[in-house]
Every structure is written in C-alpha cells, then in structure tokens.
Amino acid sequence: MTTVIAPVATLLPVFAPAESLLDTGGTVVSLLLKIAFITVMFLVVPLVGGYLEHKGMARLQNRRGPVEAGPAGSLQLVADGIKFIQKEDIIPGAADRKVFAMAPAIGLVATLLSFAVIPLAPGLFALDLELGLFYVLAISSVGVLGIMMAGWASANKFSLIGGLRAAAQLIAYELPLILVAVAVALQAGTLSLVGIVEAQQSSELFGTGISMWYVFPQALGFGIFFLAALAELSRPPFDMPIGDSELVFGYITEYSGIKFAMFLLTEYAGMILMSGLTVVLFLGGWQPLPGLDLPDGALGVLLGAGVTLGKIMLLVFVMIWVRVAYPRLREDQLQRISWTVLVPLSLVNLAVVAVGKVVAG
Amino acid sequence: MSVLARRDRALTPEETEALLRDRLGDGIIGSTLAHRMFTVHVAPSAWVDTFTRCRDEPLLDFDLFDTLHGVDAREDGFDVVAILYSTSTGNRLCLRTRCEGGRDTPVCPSLNDVYRGANWMERETWDMFGIEFPGHPALEPRILTVENFEGWPLRKDFHLASRVAKPWPGVKEPAELDEDGNVIERVPGIGDAPGPYVLDEAMAAQAIALRQVSAAIDAAAGNEAAVASAEPTVSDATMPEASAPASGTAASTDPAAAADAARTADEQRRAQAEARARKAAERAADETPEEQA
C-alpha cells in the first residue's frame, strides 16, 4: 500500500498555512483577536443578513418592513433578541429536559466553529487548515443532530416529524454538496479555503489567459451547491422541517425565549456561512472582479473584507428572493430531486472537472 | 355530462308526483306547491325508497343532495325536510316527512346509504332536534354543540337562555309591538335589566363633563380654536340637546379669528404646553394624597 501512496504523496505540494493577520502580539492577544473575529462573523454579520431579509422581503411584498426600532428599523433584530431574553423559558412537562436544553446549543456551536476557517480577506481569517473545506462540511452537518434532538426531546408529534424530515433532508443533500465541493478542490488542488481563493485568482479559462473564477467552468456545480445549501439550511422552498402550515413550526414548535432565539440565530448564521462558502469556492473570495487584484496593505484587507461581505449579502438576497417567490416542496419531491437529478449531475460535474484538469495539464 | 343537458325534458311538478305515486303507491301522502317550491309529503316508511327512486329514476335524476334538516311541527312532533336538485333537468324537489314517535322519541330512517351528504346533515338534525336516524353509522358525538350539552336546542320548548335571563333591552323587541305594528313605548321599570340606552346616557354625560373641563382649561390658556373644535364634537358624539350652542362653529369659520389664530400660532402652542404641564401637576397633586393613604 505504501508503495502506491508514497510516490503520489511526493507529487502533492507540502501544505504551508497562510499567515493570518490575527496572529500578532503573542498568544493571548492573537486568541482574543480570533475570538473577536468569529464573534463578529457569528453575531453581527447575521444581524445584517436578518435586516436584509426583513427589508428585502418587505419590499418584494409591497410592504415597508420594520421602521420603528433604530434608524429605518435596523435594530429590529436587536430588539427581538432583547425580547427573547426576557421571555419565559417554557419546557413542556413531557420533554426530555437535558436533551431539550442541549439541542439549540449544538446547532449553534456547529455553525460557530465553521466560521473559524472562512477567509474574509487576504490574511483576515482565524485559521487556515489544510483540510479546511473538509472541516467546514463535516462540522456544519453536525447541526442537524441538534435539530433531531430538538424534534425528539420536545415530546411533540409535530416536532418529531420535523426532526425526522430534517434528518432525511440532510442525508439527501449532503451528498451532492460534497461531490460538488470535491470538484472544486480537485480543480484548485487544495482543500484549504485560502488556497482555493488564491488558486482562483491565478486560474485561467481553458488556458486562454483570461482570468476566471470557478463559477464559470463549474456553473453547474455552483447551481447544485447553492440548491443543496438551501436544502441543508431548511430555507424555503426546502423548509419542510419547519413548514409552518403543516407542522406548526416543526422542531422549534415547543421552544421559546432564549432557546428559540438561538435557533433563529443559527438559521441566520447558517445563511451567512453557506453564502460565505459559496463565495470562497465559486465566486473568487475577496477578489473584486476576475483578474483584478486587491491593493497591498491595510487598504487591501479592508477592501477584500468588503468585497467578500458584499458577495455574501448578494447571495443572502438571492435566498430571500427565492423564499418570496416559491411555495414549499413536498418531502418526497425533494428526495427525488436530490437522488435522481442532483447526485448524477454532480457526478457528471466531477468527471468533467477531472478530465478538464488532466487535459489542461 | 354537461349541466342542464335535459332541461327541455324536465318533468313538471304534477308529472313528478304522478311518477313517484306510481312507483311508491301509498308512500306518497300528498304535495303542495307554494312560494315557488314544490313539496312532496312522504310517509316515513317510504322515506328511503323515495330517495333511492329520486336518485336512480332516469326521468328524475336528482343527483345533488342539497340539504336535510328538521322542523318543529308543534304537538305533532317533528318534520324532516330534505331538498334535492337535479343538475341535468334543473328541477328542485322538496321532500318532507313527519317523524314517528311524536315529540318524545322522534325517529326517521337514515339516508346515509343513498346520499353521502346525508351523514353530517342527519348528525346535525339529531344534535339540534334529537331526531334519531336508525341506520346512521354514528350520530354521536354531537356535531355542533359541545359533547356534554343537554337538551335539543332547536326545539321550540328549548328557550333561548339569554331571553329567559333578561328581556330584550330597549324598544326593539319584536314582541313589543302591537297588532298594527306600532311600537309600544316602554319605560324600563325597577328591576328591568338596564338597556344600552341607559348606559349611553351615563357615558354621554361623562363625556360632556370631560369635554367641558378640557375646554375650560384650553380657554384659560387662550386657545379659542381648541374650544371651537371641541364643541361640535360633543354634539355629534353624544346627546342631541348638546348641539344647541352653535357659537363655537361660527367662531371656527370666522376668517378674522382664523387669521388671528395663525398669527399667534407659536404663542398658542406655548400656552398649550403650559396648560398641559399645569394639568399634569394638578393630577400629580391629586394623586399624591391617595398614594400616601
């Protein structure tokens, strides 16, 4: 076995993690900086996404949206958060109290951990792991465990059905999601998220010298990834686990107060995370336009972060747009789309990318 | 099949009755044609057969089961009325039967096997009149009233609870009219429940008092416009006799007064604010002793 692997291993470049700007001023300061970075990504950016959802949805629906809390209603989610904290935390009598209490935390932690490897700008990230992509996909799918726990522990039939639907959905959509991500990793030649962004900057369209992002050769993959991400997040039109007209509120039915707020935060953070991942894998990360590089220094970092966040918000808006425009699918229709359409297509995508990689050199 | 396909071959009421009499013999007791509705009176024993005929007889073809309900027939017991409609001929037929068992144990055969729609209709009739329908799969639990409800609400000997508790407030009760249809003026006596009009007067008096107080304060603050606008509102909203002072309305339309009001708008606003502050202070002064007590 080693005789086969060893020569292959020597072909691979040795991984040198990119240097993070947050690694300054000793261990303690660096740690605090990284915690601050993840907290901002987890708490502040989702609030902006949530505000975009409030206002964007309202505009698309002929409404005004929140106007009272803060300038143009921008603090509505903060006000909601304060309200949730004050509310009574109700636990149903028949609930499995420990599991019930743990469930919201699991989803939250999974999303929180994933933000560690998302790069915002050159040098602006908490960690650059060699297996960054693998890490994100592995950790983010832990979240569904929390959903299943919530569904079971609530001792409510609607919650149970919601939890089971979420699990079925995860199994169906994890596969195309990973297969598409593999194709990206194959083209980039690395699993590091920073590496993938950098590889996109230097990549050329079929050797013509024109710079491009992976969204162009892998448009199919991009579509599949975005669709699967929607399904994994239980966003409409794939919100069957919540499905308020069928399951009241699915696995969240029995939750109230701060625990409900945690689920809500996880959902918004999940939107940011999946959009961030899509930006990194397909949309060139912090690069403003294909072939247009950022200036060096602090300005470049700032601009890069702005560009990444702008792209993320653009994708979040698309998610909102889809939510406004479409009704909900049925669980079996969703499974059919996944197994009979998306999985074969993502395999085709993988094969095409692999052939292209070999042909192109 | 399209709607009203056999409109020209629809049977007249007489023909319908003749056909039913031919098929069912003594089961058909008689018929009436009044108020544009043709009713066939059926004996309870022939009730189910009549409906089966009505449905299956090609000339009749009554396919739409419209409604079924009970009617209180005084000392004779209860009637069950069902209405059928034919979408091909456009005919409507009303079938009526007198339940067996008088007022104590009214019974009528069930149509559940003939028309699916009879299921809930019969449950409702049982719920409302206590008419039993032998052959119905399950009349219980009560379909509209609560499960432990006692009595049969639509029977005439079941009185409306709110009319037993207190008479109809005011003069709008239909029973308060004489034979010629003239309203009998009724002055509520002691012990009669207070009608809404009594309450209205008390509230109106209160509202007038409040308005007068605030108008007085506004007048003290030199705000004539506010006084003027307060007056007509009182007259509109409350008592007719309060509409007598029309001077306020005249003041508000007087151009000189309006110009004056515009010129001193700032002063008025300031005066109003002061008045408000004074009122708040008075209120605070009123409340403090109570709190201490």
């Binding site: 629906q61 149903p92 009598g93 028949a94 609930a95 001792a155 409510n156 039939k157 149970l160 059905i161 409409p236 039109p237 499905g243 308020d244 007209s245 069928e246 009241v248 406004v324 425009a325 479409y326 009704p327 909900r328 699918l329 049925r330 669980e331 229709q333 | 099949m1 399209s2 709607v3 108020h35 544009r36 509705m37 009713t39 396919d63 739409l64 089961f65 419209d66 309900h69 009617v71 209180d72 209405i83 456009g90 409507r92 009303c94 028309y115 699916r116 729609g117 809930w120 409702e124 009560r142 379909i143 509209l144 609560v146 609400p153 639509l154 409306l160 239909p174 029973a175 009219l177 249809g181």
Partner: protein, 393 residues
C-alpha cells in the same frame, strides 16, 4: 417525584397530559404503529377553530375525521328570536368573508314569500355588490391557499387588491365585513355619487393585476407540483356529498345558480362558468382565479345596465312573511347558499335553516385526504375553501 418519573408516567399514559407524549411502541426492532395527529383546533393550516384528526402511518394518512362545532353560535336559534330586519345583521356573520351575499339570500327568501317586486335599480346594485363581495372572498382564499403551500407573497398581493375593493364597498355600505346593506325590498340606501366611476376604475385596476397571480402562483412549477392530481374529486361523489361552488366546478360540472337558476338580473347578462378537468387542488384554485375574472366581466356588464330609480320598497313597520315555507338558493362565493324559510305568519321566522356551502364542502375532506401524504392533505384542506364560521354557524 422527579421529572424523570413524570416523563416515565407520561409516556405510559398514566399521568395527566396523556396524548401529549409520544407513545413508545414495543421494544424490538422496527416495531411501528399508527400515529394519530390532530390538526387543530388551533393550527395554522385551518385558519380558524377547525380540527381534523389524522390517523397516519408515517406521513401517509390512513383515515381522517373532521371535528367541527368549535364555533357554533346557534344562528338558527337566534334567527327565530329576531324579525326579518334584524336577521340581516345576523346572517352576514356566519360566512364573514361574504357578508353581502349572505344577506342577499335572506332578503330574496322573504321577498319570494311576500311575492314582492324589487325595484330594478336595487337589483342591479345588489348584483354589483354581490360580485365585488365575491372577488373579495376569492382574493382572500388565493392568498391563504398559497400561504398553506408555503408561499407568503401572494397574500400581500391579494390584500393590496382587497383594500381597494373594501374602500369601494365601504363608501356605499359603511361596512368592511358586515355590510348590512340589504333590506327586504331592496337596499338600505342608494349608491354614493361617483360610485360607478370608481367601481369601473377599481375593476380595471384589478383586472390589470390578475396576471400577477397567474405568474406568481398558477404558473409556478412548485405550485403545480404540489397541486396537480392532488385530491381529485369525481363529479358524482361531489354531488352526492352536496359539494358546490368552485370545488364542484373544478370537477368539470358548470352548475352555477347564476346560470342554471338565475336570480336578480343574472338572466339578462352573460355569465361564464370556468370549469376544471378532474377536480384536483390545482383545478379548484384555477377555477377560483377564473371566477374572479368572470366577476369582473359581470361587473363591467352591470355598469352598462345600471338604471336609475328607487332602490327600495316602502315597507310596513313590521314585515311579516305569510304562512308557508320557501327555499332560496344563491351562488355564494364558496358555493351554493340555501336559506329554508318557514313562517307561521308571525314577526319572526318559525324556522330558518342555513344550508351553508362550507358545511357540505368540508364533508368531502375525509374522502379527499384518504391515502394522501400529510403535506398533500394540507394542500387539500386549503383548496376546499371553507370559512369556519360558515361550517359551524
């Protein structure tokens, strides 16, 4: 007792709160049992206090049992204690989305018993209002049905139109839900000045916005996927159950009393009845949309036909229907509304039976949802179009 003990008892069904807990079935591998799931009385999909108990195997429904009566207010009993003028204010409350059409039925029944001639202008006004009321009602269901399938936007679009129409009706009747505009012998008061011009404007505006619903809902792939061939209803079953209105038209039978038994002046104008193919949820919805267009056509025709003249009859102080019974059927927005009026010659009716469309239509639900999946059952519940007050009365 610790929480764990309580939980144990709840699971065994020995403690209060039984039925809340999930039953544990056997302890072997892959032991399954049917689950009973109660949708309602307070569930988002029932829009009102209506309950359906599903017996389910996984997500598939084996049996369904609707439980009604949560909103029974005894209207039929109350009507026996009110004179014909007061009943108007009572009947516009059972189906609160079509108040005007309900009043119309009672007014027609009393007029039929009195053999009263209603002034021509009053009849045209009644038709105009009835059609606007129908559109109001249908728009509500267009929004709510889409909402039940998870699309939130059509509701807001529908309310944009509803608001215009309600302003229009309010200007004539003074009411937004309970119009109380009919009276025996005509309508309460003539139309305000400029009403017909405004009505024509709103009609044009509403028509110009109808393609929005075609694009947003009817043409939506997911909407089609969720409704086509879901809950088909054969015509004969529908008739046997007494199902009428859009649910019956969807089965392909154009049985509409405006055409088959014209009342008011419907005989003088063209009324088209949109029909469906096989009575599935998609057809029911498409028929509903088609009916809005038909109503707009009717409204335009009424504008052309509108005459001048009195709008009501001079009535005696107390209207008394002669002895006897009659049945009047009108095409309410949700289906056929029938009033059976039996009088003993007194001031109040002896019996007023309200044959409401929702009551008969809801009866079809057990038939429709049997063997369907839970999400489809929600789609069927939404597409039968009922108002809970109209079921329970």
């Amino acid at each position: 007792m610790s929480d764990l003990d309580v939980r144990e008892q709840l699971l065994q069904g020995t403690a209060p709160g039984e039925g809340l807990a999930i039953e544990l079935v056997g302890d072997g591998d892959l032991v399954t049992a049917d689950m009973s799931l109660s949708i309602g009385p307070a569930h988002p999909a029932t829009h009102g206090v209506f309950r359906v108990v599903f017996e389910m195997d996984g997500e598939r429904i084996l049996r369904a049992k609707p439980v009604i009566g949560y909103m029974h207010r005894g209207f039929e009993k109350l009507a026996e204690y009110r004179d014909y003028r007061q009943i108007m204010a009572l009947v516009n409350r059972h189906d609160w989305l079509s108040g005007f059409s309900n009043e119309l039925g009672v007014a027609l029944a009393v007029e039929q018993m009195l053999e009263m001639e209603v002034p021509e202008r009053a009849q045209w006004i009644r038709m105009l209002m009835a059609e606007w009321n129908r559109i109001l009602n249908h728009l509500m269901f267009i929004g709510s049905f889409a909402l039940e399938l998870g699309a939130i936007t059509p509701m807001f679009y529908a309310f944009r139109e509803r608001e215009d129409i309600q302003h229009l009706m309010e200007s004539a009747t003074g009411g937004r839900l309970h119009f109380t505009y009919n009276q025996v012998g005509g309508v309460k008061i003539d139309l305000p000045r400029g009403f017909l011009a405004e009505s024509a404007r709103v009609s044009k505006l509403t028509r110009s916005r109808m393609p929005d619903y075609d694009d947003l809902v009817l043409g939506n792939e997911i909407f089609r996927g969720r409704t086509v061939d879901i809950g088909p209803l054969p015509t004969d079953v529908a008739l046997s159950l007494g199902v009428t209105g859009p649910a019956l038209h969807a089965t392909g039978l154009a049985e509409d009393s405006r055409v088959t038994e014209p009342y008011l002046k419907y005989g003088d104008i063209d009324v088209e009845v949109p029909v469906g193919r096989n009575g599935d949820a998609y057809d029911r919805f498409a028929v509903l949309l088609g009916r809005i267009r038909v109503s707009l056509d009717i409204i335009d025709q009424i504008h052309d036909h509108m005459t001048s003249g009195p709008v009501n009859q001079k009535l005696p102080k107390m209207v008394k229907a002669p002895e006897g019974a009659t049945y009047v059927r009108t095409e309410n927005p949700l289906g056929q509304l029938g009033y059976w009026l039996e009088s003993d010659g007194g001031r109040t009716p002896w019996r007023l039976k309200m044959r409401t469309p929702s009551f008969s239509n809801v009866q079809a639900i057990p038939y429709l949802v049997q063997g369907q999946l839970l999400p489809d059952a929600i789609s069927i519940l939404g597409s039968v179009f009922f108002v809970v007050g109209d079921i329970d009365r």
